[in-house]
């Protein structure tokens, strides 16, 4: 009886873990989301990419704002190496009107985002990834015909001050992937704004 209990809890734990979204190593399903320029963006549109820097992002969150310039730098540095940034706004735009599609267009123009800034309008993509907050990064790498998660978490270890960063988690993870190694750490954490849903 006790054994059954343990088995059941183990199964429940496994289910709970799956429900949380992709883990490192998991195969990533493509998406098709509307970009600020009106086009639709999928990872399949980038056949030459070695992977993607998927950043769940938005307009209103101060932690995102603190990272916008670094997101631009990341794209400029790593897109030519085959790792473009795709920023996805996962927030419900009625729950958080500041993250509306029209405000996304304004923000993308103001900052001159060189990467796609797309909206998860039906809120179906972020739960698959298991994104919980903005900014929340998923580094995806090409693995034969598949795309797999290589790293989950923060861009670096200092949201407030880019010049005081000690560990560039994401950049280090990309370097590791480029060397054919597994990123270490493969998961990091940072404070962020919870993803907004309609109640």
């Amino acid at each position: 009886m006790k054994k059954l209990g343990i088995l059941l809890s183990a199964m429940l734990f496994a289910v709970a873990t799956i429900a949380q979204g992709y883990q490192v190593g998991d195969k990533v399903e493509d998406f098709r989301l509307k970009n600020v320029d009106g086009s639709y963006v999928s990872m399949a549109d980038f056949p030459d990419a070695n992977g993607f820097i998927i950043i769940f992002s938005c307009n209103h969150c101060p932690f995102v704002v603190a990272y916008e310039d670094r997101m631009i730098e990341l794209h400029k540095k790593f897109a030519p190496q085959g790792f473009p940034v795709i920023a996805i706004n996962p927030n419900d735009t009625i729950a958080e009107p500041r993250d509306s599609f029209s405000n996304m267009k304004i923000r993308a123009r103001e900052k001159g985002f060189p990467f796609p800034y797309v909206i998860d309008a039906n809120q179906t993509v972020y739960p698959r990834f298991g994104a919980t907050h903005t900014p929340h990064v998923f580094l995806v790498k090409r693995d034969g015909r598949d795309l797999r998660v290589a790293y989950i978490g923060a861009i670096d270890d200092n949201h407030r001050d880019a010049s005081a960063v000690e560990e560039r988690f994401l950049a280090n993870a990309i370097s590791a992937v480029q060397r054919g190694q597994s990123p270490d750490p493969a998961v990091t954490r940072a404070i962020g704004c919870t993803i907004k849903t309609r109640n």
Binding site: P62, T132, H133
Partner: protein, 164 residues
């Protein structure tokens, strides 16, 4: 005489300004994680409700009155409510303290100023991804971390069985 009076007035005003200013800063203590961590492991017979929030976090702001109500209704029953602000320290005077005053927050508020979140987030709870609002509830026999929003009834449901 007039000159002396004006000098006196000047210093009185200066004095009052300093007193008011000092008390304002006293309202919000700022800690790094090492200084804060003991709050997560108090070994007393109280129930600790520790809420991580920020003024810019809309769902956090929404639930503050429920935590305040919890504090108000249970402060005589050994329930300690602590608000841990994750606001930017540069905005303490301009934003955080005015917010605390406007909301008339009575439970204790501190500000956690520690950028190395990847190091300290798992020390609050292994399950925490970093999204706020987030709340830790614990006493000597119970410990649970909630990465979610609450209303008052939900908070009460958690606290009630711990009171006996």
């Amino acid at each position: 005489m007039k000159k002396k009076l004006s000098i006196l007035t000047f210093f009185t005003v200066l004095f009052i300004y300093h007193v008011v200013h000092a008390s304002k800063s006293d309202q919000l203590k700022v800690y790094n994680f090492e200084e804060f961590e003991h709050w997560l492991h108090k070994e007393t017979d109280s129930i600790y409700v520790i809420n991580f929030w920020a003024t810019w976090c809309a769902p956090c702001v929404k639930e503050i009155p429920y935590f305040e109500k919890l504090y108000e209704n249970y402060k005589d029953q050994k329930v300690k409510v602590l608000f841990v602000s994750l606001d930017f320290p540069a905005q303490i005077e301009s934003r955080v303290i005015p917010f605390i005053e406007r909301m008339n927050m009575q439970a204790q508020v501190i500000l956690l100023d520690d950028t190395r979140a990847n190091r300290w987030i798992p020390r609050v709870d292994e399950e925490w991804t970093g999204a706020i609002p987030a709340t830790l509830v614990y006493n000597s026999s119970y410990r649970k971390f909630y990465q979610r929003e609450f209303d008052y009834e939900e908070l009460k449901e958690i606290i009630t069985p711990l009171l006996n």
